[in-house]
């Protein structure tokens, strides 16, 4: 097993771990405001880890560039939709806790 293979495996493991932890938080939250918090790491941490794994595995190829673009899209869009959803919930007077 080369060091690159091991490093990619670690990054994939960290990505999966962050997603599973966010999923646990999503399931355990009592209201919509709590659930919205768990979209944060999913749009910031996980795409960066995954893009890093793709770049290390394949080098600066077309796949790597697209992975970076995907990470950038999720990085910008994730907080945007969280904010818009929270605003919609306030308008609807969703219960807090």
């Amino acid at each position: 097993m080369t060091s690159r293979y091991a490093f990619v495996s670690v990054l994939l493991g960290l990505t999966l771990l962050s997603i599973v932890l966010c999923l646990l938080g999503l399931c355990r939250s009592r209201d919509v405001y709590g659930r919205l918090h768990f979209l944060g790491p999913l749009s910031v941490l996980a795409p960066v880890l995954l893009a890093a794994a793709v770049l290390i595995d394949g080098g600066p190829s077309g796949e790597g560039v697209k992975a970076i673009v995907i990470a950038a899209v999720l990085f910008v869009y994730g907080p945007l939709v969280s904010h818009a959803t929270a605003k919609a919930c306030r308008r609807r007077r969703e219960p807090n806790g």
């Binding site: 293979y5 990619v8 495996s9 994939l12 990505t15 999966l16 997603i19 599973v20 966010c22 999923l23 999503l26 399931c27 209201d31 919509v32 659930r35 919205l36 768990f38 979209l39 999913l42 749009s43 996980a46 795409p47 995954l50 793709v54 595995d57 394949g58 190829s61 077309g62 796949e63 697209k66 992975a67 673009v69 995907i70 899209v73 999720l74 869009y77 994730g78 945007l80 939709v81 818009a84 959803t85 605003k87 919609a88 919930c89 308008r91 609807r92 969703e94």
Partner: protein
């Protein structure tokens, strides 16, 4: 023998099951948050599947899905705010 990318794809696909349960059992707004979660996870699964299967053309699918889920998510919030 599966490579780490395909194991990651399998794990990400399994993460969609709790999202589906939340969507089916919760109210509209909470189901929408779970839907956004599921769309993020689907993008990641498509990326890992692309690298695992060594099919670079699948990455375009992941990119288009990410962009479309961004637009549709914002459109959904607009309807949630006013009409749903």
């Amino acid at each position: 023998m599966l490579n780490p990318w395909l194991w990651a794809t399998l794990g990400l696909t399994l993460c969609l099951v709790p999202c589906l349960l939340i969507i089916l059992r919760s109210r509209v707004v909470e189901g929408f948050v779970a839907l956004q979660f599921a769309s993020f996870v689907t993008v990641f699964a498509l990326v890992t599947m692309t690298v695992g299967l060594r099919q670079p053309s699948f990455m375009d699918l992941a990119l288009v899905f990410a962009l479309l889920s961004a637009a549709s998510g914002l459109l959904f919030t607009h309807f949630l705010e006013r009409w749903l």
